[in-house]
Assembly symmetry: C2
Homo-oligomer: 321 residues x 2
């Protein structure tokens, strides 16, 4: 597997931002040649360390990401950021907010930020995130931060692009057991209680510890300690209370579990990447099979009228794939 | 499309709970014949009215569902309930909570409750929800309530099983614009501000109205008024403040948009159902293609070691489907 490098791929490997941005746009537009560049870049990936950050809306994830960027830059590391909002069908919105918050780093060559909204990512947001992370990794960024908004399955899927998943919550969301969903807890490598100067921070930590105990008992993937870090991230403060501890916890997870590119964490990530790509390719072919039947709308009208049952229709379409 | 009815399908059409529960279990276990029964039952569906209920964790959805059940029963209607928790990888948990809350109706023959967790639904939770709703519809329940926990893409997918989607929020979640996610607002036919005796209820209503205005401007699916209902649902109180108004709002949406089984809402629902089924069938075949390559773990190990790129691997697998 040593695909020839196109001139654009060469420029991306050299860290050229314009070439990378162009490839990302071509991937969105499904331009021919874009996937070939990814194939050629892939063997050069695996050096960047990918960290996912997700958690409750309003938990201050963007501010925390901002603090992490400052901390990594201070340590001499370059940082790529992918800001993902699966629930937004609109351009702008929260994504725009992230951009504004990160503008502080706009003049820093060592930081590159890319936003992904739902719109325009037919192949799936998780698949697009893998693609963007692949490009950032090939460009040579030392740390790649994948930030998502929200707490649903989409966010969990996007987190599968990362080696280390940081799940952020805040005190006082009420309804303890619901404040952080079980599915999110399941993927957490490091837990953060942000805004921990608020009332109830210690109680939130206790609740999380209790839920982690339950997770262990329930047979979660990892039987190990998950660190819980209390932070008070403030805009522009790399010294934000708890941020150095968060960096250390991520490094500890990296050293313990995720450092080996052929280890369990990397293989789990590869499984997810492959799955997203297969799903995307088959989706294209389903569209073709539907087109041969007059399109999805015609088939759906027959089903709605109970002239055709969806189970028979689906079997027929699948048989044509 | 008039499939012969098996004895079991006959019993389900007669409303027999034991036959229905057995079919649902067989569907989970992918027993041969189960899909044939669904095919035979499908032409007999379309009479039950399917109402989805979703919204922020802690918004009191289960209590609201409880109040709706009481209201519909009081009106002489039978009710089927599907309680779905996409984020729970565990059995029990929130699902168990729902069951306990609904036990009040356990001795009422006119109410049937079925819980779905992630575990055991390889074909996808949304697909399983469609199947269960199909059975409840064929059994003759007048109203079918689909309740989901959480606010992610999974919940939005599950809501596509319904003709009318009710999205529930509560005052005081903070971070107004994040309190109810755009994707959820996009699918709302009726909005509920529950626990509206809390401080800030009027502000939440104003925020929602503002977001609905934005949605209209952004080109949402429907250009029409979405009713916002304030409720104070209390356990066991069908007279819970606002509940009659909620029932009326759902009825209004039913009359205006969703009554016609061949109309736009039914066709949209059929599109979603078909999509879930195709996805499930193709998933099975992907598993077979992977098995022919030594299994997903072997392929993933090659990708993780950068001896194989995931793009080439995915193309090869898709070519074998």
């Amino acid at each position: 597997m040593t695909a020839a490098l196109s001139p654009r791929a060469e420029r991306i490997l050299a860290g050229e931002i314009r070439a990378a941005a162009r490839l990302m746009r071509d991937l969105d537009d499904r331009m021919p040649g874009a996937i070939d560049d990814l194939k050629a870049l892939y063997p050069h990936t695996g050096r960047g360390y990918i960290i996912g950050i997700t958690g409750n809306p309003g938990a201050g994830k963007s501010t925390l990401v901002d603090a992490l960027i400052s901390a990594y830059r201070h340590a001499g590391l370059t940082v790529g950021v992918v800001a993902v909002d699966p629930s937004s069908p609109f351009s702008g919105g929260a994504i725009l907010g992230d951009r504004i918050r990160m503008q502080r780093h706009a003049l820093d060559d060592g930081v590159f930020v890319r936003s992904l909204a739902t719109r325009g990512h037919l192949g799936g947001l998780s698949r697009s995130t893998f693609d963007v992370v692949c490009v950032l990794d090939a460009m040579g960024y030392d740390r790649i931060l994948v930030e998502t908004v929200g707490v649903g399955q989409d966010e969990i899927d996007v987190m599968r692009t990362a080696y280390t998943s940081v799940v952020v919550t805040v005190p006082g969301l009420g309804d303890d057991i619901q404040a952080i969903k079980a599915g999110l807890l399941e993927i957490a490598d490091v837990l953060v209680v942000n805004k921990s100067d608020r009332d109830g921070a210690d109680r939130t930590v206790r609740d999380l510890m209790h839920m982690l105990d339950l997770r262990g008992a329930g047979g979660g993937r990892y039987h190990r300690e998950v660190e819980i870090i209390k932070t008070v991230a403030a805009k522009g403060l790399r010294e934000g209370s708890g941020v150095p501890e968060l960096v250390a916890a991520v490094d500890a997870h990296r050293a313990e579990w995720a450092y080996d590119p052929e280890g369990a964490v990397s293989r789990r990530r590869a499984r997810a990447h492959l799955g997203e790509l297969v799903k995307s390719l088959l989706g294209d072919r389903v569209q073709q099979a539907l087109a041969a039947r007059g399109g999805l709308d015609d088939v759906a009208a027959e089903i709605a009228a109970r002239r055709l049952d969806p189970y028979t229709a689906a079997e027929s379409i699948a048989a044509d794939i």
